[in-house]
């Protein structure tokens, strides 16, 4: 597997726990990067990316991602593979469920990046999501508010898919 990084805010304890599970499931060398302090240069060094992008508020990127993206908005991301996961609340915010994943996917694709790790929307109940592409999400949707018991299984399954997607 080419150089792979997993990116999240180190301030987020819950995301940190999910990251550990993903790394364990991947069983490969993955560099962990703190989104809060990384630069555009830091970001561009990788080929494979796993991005933790929870959805904030009514369908927004967290500040740390939102404020970082201008650093790479002019970059060509062709040849890079991005897998995105993130938390959402399908009951509390059914109209914007895991929008963050979709917003990030759109940003990356507009710059030539390839999204991997699509997952089925089966098993979720929501009304709308920027992350939805047909009957799939453009990443892994986690919902610890309403489906916490499924989180480990979903992470494990997704991680196995990533092994195939990342080269």
């Amino acid at each position: 597997m080419k150089k792979t990084g997993i990116f999240y805010s180190f301030r987020s304890v819950k995301t940190g726990q999910q990251v550990k599970k993903i790394i364990k499931a991947l069983g490969a060398e993955v560099e962990v990067v703190d989104v809060d302090i990384m630069t555009g240069e830091d970001f561009m060094q990788f080929t494979n990316y796993i991005l933790a992008v929870p959805t904030w508020f009514d369908g927004e990127l967290p500040n740390y991602w939102d404020e970082f993206l201008p650093a790479v908005e002019d970059e060509d991301l062709k040849g890079k593979h991005f897998a995105i996961f993130g938390g959402g609340d399908q009951k509390g915010y059914p109209e914007n469920f895991v929008d963050g994943i979709g917003l990030m996917a759109n940003f990356l694709e507009e710059r030539g990046g390839t999204i991997v790790g699509f997952t089925s929307t089966d098993g979720y109940e929501f009304e709308g999501s920027v992350a939805q592409r047909g009957n799939q999400f453009a990443g892994l949707a986690l919902d610890i508010e309403n489906q916490a018991a499924l989180t480990n299984e979903r992470i494990e399954k997704w991680s196995q898919e990533l092994k195939k997607a990342f080269k």
């Binding site: 904030w56 508020f57 009514d58 369908g59 927004e60 500040n63 939102d66 404020e67 201008p70 650093a71 908005e73 002019d74 915010y93 059914p94 109209e95 914007n96 759109n106």
Partner: protein, 681 residues
């Protein structure tokens, strides 16, 4: 949001602009944080709805607003919007502590209601979202006069629960008007979460099915996203002459206002994350992260702002309060000087015209006289039909659909857009049929009340030049929704004139004066008399009747009947009958104007006859006659030889069955009985 051009970003926007924005944001925040101190020190600013958390979208609204062509209707949380639109720290503080120098209206309106009518930043109601109808009215004027610019209504997301906001957006969609409705969504209407307001979390979604309407969503906490969205909204609305909704996600970092405690309904987690979303902090981080400005440059602005606010505070503290005696200023503007017929009487001897004809011909004459005159209402114009009673017959054919047109069945919309349209140009005069029947006017009451406030609240800066025509009263077998007269209720509001003619000539003359005057006049038309021969009179072509001039319909010496509307004719008939019977000579005074009331004529007649009977169609209990009777006892008690009596409707609704209607409404016999009783003293 991909269809919104990314004109601004932290990397693209020029440094000068970035610094200008920082100054606005920092000034806005400084004032927002300083406001509660004035209350703590008992100086003022007792109402303060913090803007913190809305900074991005508010900056954008103010920056996009162009006072040379746009109209802005900010709401009570729009401190940063106003600063961004150009209000100074001094102007904000004058409003906050309600000083006479407050450009919104000299401290007459509640604090935190920033405005500058001189710049088309309108002084709006505290009733949330009420100004959406005014924005639509201005939008209609922009379109009618083919002007440039847009109307911007800024409001909280919970205001959209109000029915009149739906009416406004529906109207803007139907008429295709250049209006931007900005919903600043902080998730709460005071303590009520948005899930208790509407089913969609983003209330703008409720309107996605509206034709001709573009809906945009943006992050109101982000300066760049907000700027890009507002720029596109303004450009699109102006170019396409169509409305836009901008739903801006915000957070409310503090309580709703200083009378609210948000810790009673928000948990620690929420209180923490809303702070993390602080738009100002985000903007500061971005400026530094992308090296767009230096720490020193930011500090220099902060120091400058601190000094500006300090100076503004000093000026605010020494500025005078409004004086107590000023309360009577600007209740109503001076009316048109109806000088041709100073007493509102004439000796013209032409063919008698029916009351309805007098109204129709005066409307047409005034439309020819003033090209900036408009009329709308329900049923106002469709082919050969002109109004439910055909009062406006033939007007659309002569003056066209831009000046004479139907309104949706939405009385509040009819009133509210009149209030809005007249803001565009001081020459504009709007006549509305406020409702098909006066009894249906109640849905328009919130806009009616609002309109009565405007002139006073703005300290004379805005005069709503509107004539509200209402077909009123009973004797037609109409029941509860087609037979009532409502002047008693309307007369309790300062800021409106109310006239109620009984004869064709007075109807024509008062209508002309109303349509030429500044301010709002409610024009009540006794519909039972529209075609009644007894109300028909000759009418001079140029007839005009001054407000507040009563007319003596019959001279007398033994008793005066004070009356107006339908009961004037009954009173005259009774007086004639009593004279024939040799029981007394009764004077009948037709008041014509209720507000202003011709108190001088009332008192003079009481002095002459020493007995007073007040007769009107409205209920005796709580009716306007109570005011007349009270003024007589207060000002002419020593001239009275008998108690002041009143005749009017019973304190019941008006029944539909003819027997019921007759039992409720006053008639000749009741007037006769009361008159005889008084004559016997």
């Amino acid at each position: 949001m991909n269809d919104i051009p990314k004109i601004h970003s932290i990397k693209k926007t020029d440094k000068e602009t970035l610094l200008k924005w920082y100054r606005i944001l920092f000034l806005g925040r400084t004032l927002d944080e300083k406001a509660p101190n004035y209350l703590k020190q008992a100086i003022g600013w007792s109402y303060h709805a913090p803007a913190a958390g809305h900074d991005g979208i508010q900056l954008a609204i103010g920056q996009v607003f162009d006072r040379s062509k746009d109209h802005l209707f900010p709401y009570y949380r729009d401190l940063v919007t106003n600063v961004s639109a150009g209000l100074t720290a001094e102007e904000i503080i004058y409003n906050g502590i309600s000083k006479d120098a407050d450009v919104a209206g000299g401290g007459r309106h509640m604090s935190n209601h920033f405005a500058k009518p001189e710049w088309n930043i309108h002084n709006v109601s505290s009733c949330t979202g009420n100004h959406t109808l005014h924005a639509v009215g201005v939008g209609r004027a922009i379109k009618t006069y083919e002007g440039k610019g847009v109307a911007i209504s800024s409001q909280g997301e919970s205001s959209v629960s109000e029915g009149y906001v739906y009416e406004a957006i529906n109207g803007a969609s139907k008429e295709q008007l250049p209006v931007i409705f900005v919903f600043q969504d902080n998730g709460y209407g005071i303590s009520v979460p948005k899930k208790d307001q509407t089913a969609n979390r983003k209330v703008a979604k409720n309107f996605e099915g509206f034709k001709n309407l573009r809906v945009m969503y943006c992050n109101g906490k982000d300066v760049f996203d907000s700027m890009n969205t507002m720029l596109e909204a303004s450009k699109w609305a102006e170019e396409n002459q169509k409305p836009v909704i901008v739903q801006a996600n915000c957070v409310r970092i503090h309580s709703h206002s200083n009378s609210d405690r948000h810790d009673l309904y928000r948990d620690d987690n929420e209180l923490g994350y809303v702070k993390e979303y602080d738009p100002l902090a985000k903007y500061q981080r971005l400026l530094k992260r992308y090296n767009r400005v230096t720490e020193e440059e930011m500090q220099a602005i902060e120091a400058e702002v601190a000094e500006e606010v300090k100076q503004a505070h000093r000026k605010g503290m020494t500025a005078p309060h409004p004086t107590p005696e000023s309360i009577h200023d600007f209740v109503l503007p001076e009316p048109y000087a109806a000088a041709k017929y100073p007493d509102g009487t004439h000796n013209y001897e032409g063919e008698p015209q029916k009351l309805i004809q007098g109204l129709n011909e005066t409307l047409k004459a005034e439309f020819r006289h003033n090209p900036d005159t408009y009329i709308w209402g329900q049923d106002i114009a469709n082919k050969d039909k002109g109004g439910i009673f055909n009062v406006s017959k033939g007007m659309q054919q002569e003056f066209g659909k831009k000046r004479v047109f139907n309104a949706p069945i939405a009385e509040d919309f009819i009133m509210g857009t009149a209030n809005g349209m007249v803001r565009y140009n001081k020459n504009i005069r709007v006549v509305v049929e406020g409702a098909e029947f006066a009894d249906y006017f109640w849905p328009a009451m919130e806009q009616f009340v609002e309109t009565t406030h405007e002139y006073w609240r703005t300290k004379g800066q805005f005069s709503p030049n509107i004539t509200v025509r209402l077909a009123s009263g009973g004797y037609i077998g109409g029941g509860l929704y087609h037979s009532q007269t409502i002047e008693g209720a309307l007369a309790t509001f300062p800021g409106v004139r109310i006239v109620y003619p009984s004869y064709a000539d007075d109807a024509a003359g008062l209508l002309r004066t109303s349509m030429r005057s500044e301010g709002m006049t409610v024009f009540l038309e006794p519909k039972a008399l529209y075609n009644a021969p007894k109300a028909a009179t000759p009418i001079p072509d140029d007839y005009e009747v001054p407000f507040g001039k009563a007319r003596t319909r019959r001279e007398g010496t033994d008793l005066t009947i004070f009356t107006y509307g339908n009961t004037t004719h009954m009173s005259v008939e009774v007086a004639e009958q009593l004279s024939k019977e040799g029981l007394g000579e009764i004077e009948v005074i037709d008041l014509r104007s209720i507000i202003p009331l011709d108190t001088e004529a009332v008192i003079a007649s009481v002095k002459k006859t020493s007995k007073a009977l007040v007769v009107h169609e409205d209920k005796v209990f709580g009716g306007f006659g109570g005011e007349i009777a009270a003024q007589i006892t207060s000002e002419a008690f020593e001239y009275l030889d008998a108690p002041v009596k009143r005749v009017g409707s019973t304190f019941t609704p008006v029944g539909f069955n003819r027997t019921l209607e007759a039992a409720v409404l006053p008639n000749n016999q009741r007037i006769m009985d009361a008159a005889k009783e008084l004559l016997a003293y």
